[in-house]
Amino acid sequence: MAVVDWSQLPLELLMRIIENHLKNVKEFIMLSRVCHSWRDAAYGCDISKLRNTWSCQMPWLMLTDGSFGNNVYCHPRAYMPYSYNDGFYCDWFRDYDDDNGYVIMLDHDETINNVVGDTSHLKELIYRDSEQKQDSKNDWLTLSIKKTCNYGRRVLDLRWNRREV
């Protein structure tokens, strides 16, 4: 039987898989990092169309590595079930918010799950300010990254903002 090379799968087939069968941005990113031809296929797709398909599956907080300034986003209808074995603490994290919370981070380790490339646990990075226990709607969720920048949002807010501590 002929040797099979998955990197040689025709572009149109790869694009078909990407456009019609991927469910979220995480799968897209993973696939696009496999090899040149898969990457070409991924970026040959109409990305704005893909984003629409995923719209209810974007994470509500997403950090890219390095410059967090403009890259902290959240999405109101985010949902992506979490299933890494060695991942971030999604179960715990879900407790934080009403529904579907989870965090996705891209770091130097090329995995999505290691927060900012060091040994910090997400658990330690994110905490709920508890001064205002009576009024949980105004609770701040705070995310501290390497103690150099903090982001916070009120429970019902959607966007994380840089926060003075």
Binding site: A2, L13, L31, V34
Partner: protein, 164 residues
């Protein structure tokens, strides 16, 4: 043989790239748009001979699998698409194969325009990527990392598009 203008062909012969012949009943063959097109064309011309369709891109072991799929689906062709038994069968069908076979099968489904099989394969591939890291994906599909370290570094800084 009496000739009638419609459905004069009940069987076709399909030839694999390694020159094996498969006799396929028309209903089964029609699951593949490529074969169906050939049959329709021949019928339009009013041919009554058994026709031979050579498939230069499909080896006989893969063709056997495609035809197995087509046969099963031809049995259910008159049912609605949501037949539970068929879905279950589809699911079990692909699970039997290694990734090399899956690759050839996907290409064959594409070439023979067997849309439901192609969808099935694509979904299966997408499902196997789910929850894996890049390394793991390379491993199961046996793909070499052909990025240079510099390219890898660049790629990691490149994902901001998702949020614009």
């Amino acid at each position: 043989m009496a000739s009638s203008s419609s459905s004069s062909l009940s069987r076709v012969v399909v030839k694999s790239s390694d020159n094996n012949l498969f006799v396929v009943n028309k209903k089964v063959a029609s699951q593949s748009q490529l074969l169906k097109q050939c049959i329709d064309n021949m019928e339009e011309k009013g041919t009554n001979d058994v026709i031979l369709i050579p498939l230069s891109n499909v080896t006989s072991n893969i063709l056997t699998l495609v035809l197995e799929y087509c046969e099963k689906h031809a049995d259910f062709a008159d049912d609605d698409n949501n037949n539970q038994e068929l879905k279950q069968w589809d699911h079990e069908f692909l699970k039997k194969f290694d990734y090399a076979t899956l690759n050839s099968l996907t290409m064959a489904a594409d070439y023979m325009v067997t849309k439901s099989l192609l969808n099935l394969c694509c979904q299966f591939i997408a499902d196997s990527i789910k929850d894996l890291t890049v390394q793991q994906i390379r491993q199961i599909f046996d793909i070499k990392n052909d990025f240079t370290p510099q390219e890898e570094a660049d790629i990691k800084n490149e994902n901001a598009w998702a949020f614009r």
